[in-house]
């Protein structure tokens, strides 16, 4: 092997680092030399030994899949054909395969295409693990080998695999009589490639993806096992380059009974939680059966469920169940519609706030969002800009003159004509068009014109909330305009306004507002701006 590739990537240093390196050298050096040096033991998943029964009990509903995988992996040092594990998100694929390897205590190399998002990163990550190379301050956090092309990767991979397998064989030969703890079993190395579905979106995916699949055929080493993990099924990977598909292992989504078993694990009060699950599991499973989504929803709901427990000390179990249920039931429908929401305040505060606001009835219709307030802060000028963008996207440009002259809101005084059948049909067609087309684009000048019109309407003292606002509404002030442009760019960064296509004639960029009508109404309400008067309705 020639004089190769330990490239030192020159790194820029900060002034403080280069100055401190002169003085604190001794201390730094000793610290670095004490840093961890990986050995063959690090190729194993680690942790305490896990027996097969413990493995099955930690994944109570995946017995079939675990036994399928363990049988495909086979006994020690038995070659295997590549396997392909697939199933929906949050079904336990990655965690189960890693725990299986903890149980088997066999050496593995793990790479996920989510963290190794380019071929170069992927190749280097695998090689670093095999060469037992750790990125630390000594080597400047660089990889052991620089590798960009598949051909280089195959050669380097074969070399490093041969050396690791050789070491493993020596190890297993030595320790056949008494096993030292922590040493890996056997002399086969397993490669686990996770999140394979992301490779399809890479730049050169038409060559890289078949390469990943034919890695086993190219390597031709029976001491290497290959395991692919993907969110989507094997039929979404078809290409016209030849490779034989790996053996599929399917992880179905959990059923309701599975979820009940999973959620009952590690609960102190199983009876109470079981009664909670009986109430809550069925309706929520109609929306989603994913463990991560349900667990966040259930954790806050369980707290709510247990609220009246202090009062129910000395009642029978059945009575307690009934009372808890009657207290809890109105919340179910409400929380179903909020199941995917992430609360912006910590839950305890939400509780106290909600109690303050709600005086009497608990039950609200599903659209309670309409009456809620904007739950994040925006400066007043940003709010006006957002409303202007919404109006610009929503209304046709020809209407601006009539809407935004000095007699704003005069629309409402127009004579209401009787609605004929034709105009109703037109209205429906117009609504349909709005649904399909989405918000329109507008040039920057139109946005600024509308903004100036709207903000010049505001007179008088500002609200107490907005006292700290810097911006003052004086038209013709050039400082004002640059602030507005900065506000526009921050709104673009927040994806409230995006750059749409460019104008076909002039080539200038056009913008598009991305907020819903609900949010625009909320923003307008917080400014006490009569938005519905300005909305174009046919």
């Amino acid at each position: 092997m020639g004089k190769e590739e330990i490239q030192q990537i020159t790194r820029r240093t900060t002034r403080s680092f280069s100055s401190s390196s002169a003085t604190g050298n001794e201390a730094v050096k000793t610290k670095i030399s004490e840093s961890y040096i990986p050995t063959l033991k690090d190729l194993v998943f680690g942790g305490n030994h896990l027996s097969y029964d413990d493995l099955l009990s930690s994944f109570p509903t995946r017995g079939v899949q675990i036994s399928q995988i363990v049988h495909l992996l086979g006994p020690l040092n038995s070659p295997m054909l590549p396997i392909f594990i697939y199933g929906g998100a949050s079904t336990g694929k990655t965690s189960i395969i890693l725990q299986i390897f903890r149980h088997l205590n066999r050496p593995l190399v793990y790479a996920s295409y989510r963290t190794c998002y380019s071929p170069c990163l992927f190749f280097e990550s695998i090689l670093n693990q095999l060469l037992l190379h750790k990125k630390n301050a000594v080597n400047g956090y660089s990889s052991s080998k620089r590798c960009e092309k598949p051909s280089d990767f195959v050669n380097l991979l074969r070399e490093s695999l041969l050396s690791v397998i050789g070491d493993l064989k020596v190890n297993s030969g030595k320790l056949s009589s008494n096993k030292l703890p922590g040493q890996p079993n056997g002399s086969m190395v397993y490669l686990i490639l996770d999140n394979l579905e992301l490779v399809r979106n890479w730049d050169k995916s038409s060559t890289i993806l078949p390469f990943m699949f034919s890695l086993y055929d190219i390597l031709k080493m029976p001491e290497v096992g290959l395991i692919y993990i993907s969110n989507t099924s094997p039929d979404t990977y078809y290409s016209n380059v030849g490779y034989v598909e790996p053996i599929p292992v399917y992880f179905p989504e959990y059923t309701e009974e599975d979820l009940r078993q999973i959620f009952l694990r590690n609960q102190e009060n199983r009876k109470l939680y079981l009664s909670f699950l009986d109430v809550v599991l069925k309706p929520f499973c109609r929306v989603t059966r994913r463990v991560d989504e349900l667990s966040t929803a259930f954790s806050s709901l369980f707290r709510k469920y247990c609220e009246p427990l202090n009062d129910l000390e000395h009642v029978s179990y059945e009575e307690m169940k009934r009372r808890l249920f009657s207290h809890f039931q109105p919340h179910i429908a409400l929380s179903l519609n909020e199941i995917f929401q992430v609360p912006s305040w910590p839950p305890l505060e939400v509780e106290s706030n909600k109690e303050k606001k709600r005086k009497s009835s608990i039950r609200k219709s599903g659209g309670c969002e309409d009456f809620a307030e904007l739950d994040f802060h925006m400066s007043t000028s940003a709010k006006y800009l957002l409303i202007s963008a919404f109006l610009a996207s929503r209304n046709p440009a020809t209407l601006d003159a009539s809407l935004f002259d000095s007699t704003a809101g005069s629309d409402s005084h127009k004579r209401k004509r009787k609605a004929s059948v034709k105009s109703l049909e037109q209205k429906e067609a117009a609504e349909q068009e709005l649904l399909m087309k989405g918000p329109g684009t507008f040039p920057l000048e139109r946005l600024l014109a509308i903004f100036q019109c709207i903000s010049s309407v505001v007179e008088g003292p500002l609200d107490e909330e907005n006292e700290n606002d810097v911006l003052r509404f004086e038209s013709g002030d050039s400082g004002f305009m640059s602030d507005v442009l900065m506000q526009l760019s921050s709104l673009c960064n927040a994806n409230f306004i995006i750059k749409g296509g460019s104008c076909p004639l002039e080539g200038s960029t056009r913008y598009r507002s991305m907020i819903t009508e609900d949010m625009a109404l909320k923003v307008a309400r917080s400014l006490k701006f009569p938005l519905p008067n300005y909305l174009y309705r046919r």
């Binding site: 399928q68 049988h71 495909l72 086979g74 006994p75 038995s78 070659p79 295997m80 054909l81 199933g87 929906g88 998100a89 092309k149 598949p150 051909s151 195959v154 060559t207 078949p210 055929d217 190219i218 029976p222 969110n231 989507t232 099924s233 094997p234 039929d235 016209n240 380059v241 030849g242 034989v244 598909e245 053996i247 599929p248 399917y250 179905p252 989504e253 059923t255 499973c285 109609r286 929306v287 989603t288 059966r289 179903l336 519609n337 199941i339 995917f340 599903g366 659209g367 969002e369 649904l435 399909m436 087309k437 989405g438 918000p439 684009t441 750059k499 749409g500 296509g501 598009r512 991305m514």
Partner: protein, 381 residues
């Protein structure tokens, strides 16, 4: 040796055999008109007669082209130890021509310098074949491809220098398959294996191979995937399903292997969906049936609302919740966007379409546990 350990040893042996392509290809290469013999004859004759030659091996993926090639090359390397040097190039690895040149130089242990700078496309092939005609050294170029029309893809000047020798790798015949099964599964009766167990195992194997139901399973598998590698994959699953408790392979192992390999991924995906996701799929199907050419999430929500209004379903959820389920369906690849991220519209305005057929959706609903009856009714209208 205890019974369990005999079984384990047998399992290990079978797995090793199945993962070794050389072992698999042997019984198929024994007859004199097999591809192996033809290939070996061609190469050895060009070595002995000191002439140049080019051969093309074509056949569907997994039909054993590389295995036969390796087998032939191994034998030839033994017969003519010092006269052959081997260069292996792979289109997946060395897709760039500079890369290919470097690889050739590396495998020939030459210092690499760029030969043949800047010519047209396919210059590597052209220069190789050209060099064979002009230079005094001799080479045999063997091309392997899974496309049967690969010689049509070559440029004219290359095709003209090609000697049109093509070896076609056909799917194995029934006799070949039978021979392969015996070859793979028969335990050796020499001293490396406990004799009684091996004899018993082989006896049961013969019974199994003669069984009609067994032949039916194998032929129904081969109807779908007729190449050797696919068969090997199937046999590997059979061995992995072979429980250690029973000492011998049984018909049940083959049956369960067949069902585990014949999957219907879209049906499985539909069974994984939640009920709200099924509602969205059914609404999309109804929109497509109404011949709305393009529709987006907002149209689907409109349909969802009208379904709820006419049938008073109990499953009516907020817009946010439905949007999230909609995004889950996109992740599962049951539906997809029909535009290419044009103009950066947000999710609810982009046109979408179904990626499952109505028949698959219907089948999925039927096999769905506790599917609401309303959904089946909606599918029919």
């Amino acid at each position: 040796m205890g019974f369990q350990s005999q079984v384990e040893k047998a399992k290990n042996l079978l797995r090793t055999r199945l993962c070794n392509p050389n072992f698999i290809i042997k019984p198929l290469s024994d007859s004199p008109d097999s591809n192996y013999c033809k290939l070996k004859f061609t190469i050895s004759s060009s070595i002995t007669e000191a002439c140049n030659n080019s051969i093309l091996l074509v056949g569907p993926r997994g039909s054993g082209k590389i295995a036969v090639l390796e087998l032939a090359l191994n034998d030839l390397l033994q017969e003519y130890p010092d006269t052959i040097s081997l260069i292996r190039l792979n289109g997946l690895l060395h897709s760039d021509e500079n890369c290919a040149f470097k690889e050739i130089a590396k495998q020939l242990c030459l210092e690499h310098h760029l030969l043949f700078s800047k010519m047209g496309k396919q210059r590597l092939l052209y220069s190789l074949l050209d060099a064979m005609n002009t230079v005094t050294s001799q080479a045999v170029v063997i091309g392997v491809s899974c496309r049967l029309d690969v010689d049509q893809l070559l440029e004219k000047r290359i095709r003209s220098r090609f000697s049109h020798r093509k070896l076609l790798f056909l799917p194995p015949s029934k006799e070949d398959v039978q021979r392969l099964l015996e070859h793979v599964f028969s335990l050796p009766t020499d001293s490396s294996f406990p004799h009684d167990y091996a004899a018993q195992f082989n006896g049961k194997l013969q019974n199994l191979l003669a069984d009609d139901r067994f032949k039916e399973i194998i032929s129904s598998y081969l109807d779908l995937n007729s190449t050797i590698n696919h068969l090997v994959r199937f046999l590997f699953i059979v061995v992995s399903l072979w429980e250690s408790k029973s000492g011998f392979l049984s018909l049940e192992n083959f049956k369960s292997a067949l069902s585990s390999i014949q999957r219907q991924p879209k049906q499985e995906c539909i069974k994984d969906c939640s009920i709200l996701e099924l509602y969205i799929l059914v609404c999309m199907k109804r929109l497509e049936v109404k011949e709305q050419n393009s529709y987006n999430f907002n149209s689907v929500m409109k349909e969802y609302r009208s379904v709820h209004d006419s049938f008073q379903t109990s499953d009516y959820y907020a817009w946010d919740v439905c949007l999230r389920s909609f995004e889950r369906l996109i992740q599962r690849e049951l539906i997809c966007f029909t535009d290419n991220r044009a103009h950066g519209q947000s999710v609810e305005f982009r046109p979408v379409k179904l990626l499952v057929s109505y028949v698959e959706l219907q089948g999925g609903l039927k096999s769905y546990r506790s599917c609401p009856i309303i959904l089946q009714k909606l599918m029919d209208h």
